[in-house]
Subunit: 136 residues, 2 copies
């Protein structure tokens, strides 16, 4: 397919990278907050579509992980968006608990301070205790 065809097509043909992965943004369908970014391989994407719950591919552990399988903090997928060149996805998700393993609603809990290129500031507070959620 040409670039123009990919951009104007109604055929879903996600483009996985040289490692077989596609970046995926999970966005809270209600608030619009970007919750996290992770990767899917084809199997993870198929599982996500089939089950209606987000499943990713862990690059560090090199295996599928259904988001929430350990913490209980699942992502119910309401809609899957794809970008113009079909090499990135947005999942609009419904969540009922914090999504970052560090205890925050979103992984993006820090921002660069104004007029600094080095200093971060926290822009969110922890909403759950990861030590309790991630029980051994």
């Amino acid at each position: 397919m040409t670039t123009k065809q990919i951009e104007e097509s109604v055929e879903f043909s996600p483009r996985f990278d040289e490692n077989g992965l596609i970046p995926v943004i999970a966005q809270d369908v209600k608030t619009g907050q970007v919750l996290m970014v992770a990767y899917m391989n084809k199997e993870a994407l198929d599982s996500t579509i089939k089950t209606g719950y987000a499943t990713y591919f862990s690059r560090s552990r090199k295996k599928l992980w259904k988001k929430g399988e350990q913490s209980g903090h699942f992502q119910k997928v309401e809609k899957i968006l794809v970008d113009c060149d079909q090499d990135c996805l947005v999942l609009k998700v419904t969540v009922d608990a914090g999504q970052c393993h560090a205890g925050y609603d979103s992984c993006f809990y820090r921002a660069l301070k104004k007029k600094s290129d080095k200093q971060l500031e926290f822009i969110a507070e922890k909403t759950y205790d990861p030590e309790k959620a991630y029980k051994k």
Copy 2:
């Protein structure tokens, strides 16, 4: 730094991948809409911080591109967020025109149809004419 240090630190230490790139999500600061995803190398990030306007690294053209340099559709950066493990950024941006080169406000103008794993549907309409914006 340990993982925990990276997660709890107020030191901005973005982690570029093996190609020297970090994925960046541009999000409309007013509407929360995810506009596009692109990549930055260190030089692009430095330029973005310094100028206050988003500059990316084009993987296809292998060079820096200030978003809007051709179309006039710039991204004024209001805030730069970083995720827990500092390998992804969110730019909260102010825009005054469509951000997708295909003529849409956002690159994510299509979604997978309910109960389909193949069929997309358009969820947005074009808001500008790319042929006019990208004049030769």
